[in-house]
């Protein structure tokens, strides 16, 4: 039942119900008030005339007469007013009917005898008041209230009519307001559908930025923007990764196809196989780096951290990179003081190695890489400073991005995947550390890595 699940229909239902309840309550009360007011006036007049009739019938010395004795002016109160036909009927003590006014309808039933004050009753289009006199007779005064009843009926119809009109107006207004209030939801839903269809650039246009839905639209737009950025980064990463794999695959294809084109001496086959092996090594390195990054991205729970000496980690990394430094004619200066931090020693060594390797790689021949570790007030700091040509200001914010290379053309020498600094940063941030970089053109670049001891 889609109908009952629609918010708009449910709102409308409740709204209609409430409106009907309020309108009928008000209408009924108004009608009751009007009726009581009218009846009260009629009853008051009846009571007055009852007093008149009783007074004129009160005996002075003899047993009570059976008819009122009164003046013609008093008589006029019953017969003289057109449209307000009051009448009276008197029953004697023995139950016989006594005096009856001219305007009395025929066959007024004798009321039951109820001692006490005058009693009122409605009988069809007549309102009557009767009272047992102390003398034992019963006096009834009545009036045709047809006009009043008709007036009340008119009032009731008027109230019902205007109530109905207000109800319809309310329903229409409610429908319109509900539609207006829910329109942003339709917009949001349409946009979300487009986004789920793959158009990530879609955004919701909030009509009313101050309302709750405007706020929701803004929040959703922010989410969409972040999603789109993440998606673009992922796509770029995949493109870069496949791009990095293309060159070694090209080597393997060219080597194998040319080697297999004809019979060759064994030495040539060996050369081709060695080239294929180097290409495969490169691909393996790249795949390992990518997997490592993917693992950091998926945020697997880190292995139990242990207390590590950052100075020893740095020294070991430097020792491993000594051959590379020699090959590039770069001197490695190490100044360390024991400084402790918490983490996975293997991963920290990888991060340190990547930063130092990068510093060697981008250094000038005959340059120096200074590696310093010392404790800080609340942790440990690793500083790697090179004497390379420095990094351009516009490249500086991007150097930790995956596959980012400051030079547009490929650096010479050892193959460099462009993932080293990205991996280092991922490791450091996973350990709650920070890495920042400063660079001066022609002087060199300095990386500072800080870990808190806590």
């Amino acid at each position: 039942m889609k109908f009952f699940h629609s918010i708009r229909w449910r709102l409308q239902l409740w709204h209609g119900l409430l409106l009907a309840l309020v309108l009928s309550g008000f209408g009924f009360t108004a009608w009751r008030l009007q009726r009581e007011n009218q009846m009260g006036r009629v009853d008051h007049e009846l009571e007055q005339r009852m007093g008149l009739v009783e007074g004129s019938m009160r005996p002075r010395d003899a047993p009570g007469p059976d008819a009122p004795r009164w003046s013609s002016r008093e008589q006029n109160l019953f017969d003289g007013m057109p449209g307000q036909a009051f009448y009276f009927v008197v029953w004697l003590r023995d139950g016989r009917q006594g005096a009856v006014s001219a305007a009395a309808p025929s066959g007024v039933p004798q009321p039951e005898r109820i001692p006490g004050p005058p009693v009122f009753r409605s009988r069809g289009a007549f309102r009557e008041c009767f009272h047992d006199t102390p003398e034992g007779s019963c006096v009834l005064v009545g009036r045709d209230i047809g006009d009043e009843l008709a007036g009340l009926r008119r009032t009731a119809w008027l109230l019902a009519g205007s109530g109905g009109a207000v109800f319809l107006l309310g329903l229409t207004g409610g429908w319109w307001i509900a539609a207006r209030a829910l329109r942003p939801i339709a917009e949001i839903s349409a946009t979300a559908t487009k986004i789920s269809d793959g158009d990530l650039a879609q955004r919701i246009r909030p009509d009313d930025s101050e309302s709750e839905l405007g706020q929701l639209a803004r929040d959703l737009n922010n989410t969409f923007a972040r999603l789109q950025a993440a998606f673009a980064r992922q796509a770029q990463f995949t493109a870069d990764a496949s791009h990095e794999l293309r060159t070694p695959v090209a080597v393997v294809l060219a080597q194998t196809q040319s080697a297999l084109a004809r019979e060759r001496p064994a030495a040539e086959y060996r050369e081709s196989l060695a080239a294929c092996g180097r290409a495969a090594q490169r691909m393996r390195g790249l795949i390992e780096s990518l997997l490592m990054l993917a693992r950091f991205d998926s945020d697997e729970t880190p292995e139990a951290p242990e207390r590590c000496d950052l100075s020893r980690i740095a020294e070991e990394s430097v020792a491993l990179l000594k051959p590379l430094a020699d090959e590039n004619n770069v001197r490695l200066d190490v100044e360390t003081t024991p400084a402790h931090c918490w983490g996975n020693a293997g991963q920290l060594a990888q991060a340190a190695g990547n930063i130092v390797g990068n510093a060697i790689h981008y250094n000038r021949p005959g340059g120096t890489v200074r590696v310093m570790v010392h404790p800080e007030a609340d942790g440990a700091v690793l500083i790697v400073a090179d004497t390379g040509q420095g990094i351009n200001t516009e490249d500086l914010p991007h150097i930790f991005e995956r596959f980012y290379r400051a030079e547009k053309s490929r650096p010479e020498g050892r193959e460099h995947s462009g993932l080293g600094l990205a991996i280092a940063k991922a490791i450091i941030e996973k350990h709650g550390g920070t890495i920042d970089v400063t660079s001066e053109s022609g002087v060199g670049t300095t990386f500072r890595v800080r870990f808190s001891a806590g």
Binding site: A239, S242, H243, E244, R246, T247, V249, A250, V251, V252, L253, A254, Q255, Q257, S258, A259, A261, R262, E268, E271, S272, A275, R278, A279, K408, S409, R410, P411, E412
Partner: protein, 216 residues
């Protein structure tokens, strides 16, 4: 046909050079942009295979500077498959574009195509007298019978056929048939011409004394 390979990936460069030479091309190599640009400007190559990612000077820049002086056909090699890059390469004056990794056969086919186009030829087959040269399959027939030619002989014939009607100087022939590593003597050219005449008939290649050779 003499080709210049500009590629910094040593293993790729070695295998491409070997394959090209085995196809009968004369192949020179350069491992960075500057060296590549220098050679490309100095020597009249029939085609250049140019990698985009190069040390010192990237492929775009090499192409741009080369176009200031030479119209040598250029085949760009790149690891980027984005359409934007392909468009950029072709707009910058590259004659064709090949994305790594590629098949050697495709590289050869594309090289043949850009060399043929640069020579102003659109057809694959040429018929001179009773001799038919198919540059796509690199087969030569005489009166319907296949003729076996060495790679060098074929290249000499193809060069003359592509420049049909022109007199090709001995220097030009030597430049286009032998690469920088070749220390063959120039009289080897006469040996190849004489072999071709033996196989295809003496009237096919005319000698313009003091100028060079010509196929009418």
């Amino acid at each position: 046909m003499r080709i210049l390979l500009i590629e910094d990936e040593a293993d790729l460069l070695v295998s491409l050079t070997r394959a090209l030479r085995e196809e009968g091309y004369a192949a020179d190599t350069a491992t960075d942009g500057e060296e590549g640009l220098y050679k490309a400007t100095e020597v009249s190559y029939d085609a250049i295979v140019l990698d985009v990612m190069l040390p010192r000077l990237d492929g775009w820049e090499v192409l741009e500077r080369l176009r200031e002086s030479r119209r040598t056909p250029v085949l760009m090699l790149t690891a980027r498959d984005a359409a934007r890059d392909r468009v950029r390469g072709l707009d910058a004056g590259a004659d064709d574009y090949l994305v790594k990794p590629f098949d050697l056969e495709e590289l050869f086919a594309r090289l043949r195509a850009i060399i043929r186009r640069a020579a102003g030829q659109t057809m694959n087959t040429f018929e001179i007298g009773g001799v038919v040269v198919d540059t796509a399959s690199r087969k030569v027939t005489r009166s319907g019978n296949p003729v076996a030619l060495t790679a060098r002989e074929y290249c000499l014939l193809e060069f003359l056929v592509l420049h049909r009607g022109e007199t090709v100087t001995r220097t030009a022939l030597y430049e286009h048939l032998f690469d920088e590593d070749d220390d063959s003597l120039s009289n080897l050219l006469d040996v190849h011409v004489s072999n071709l005449r033996k196989k295809l008939g003496h009237e096919l290649i005319e000698t313009r004394r003091g100028h060079g050779y010509c196929i009418e």
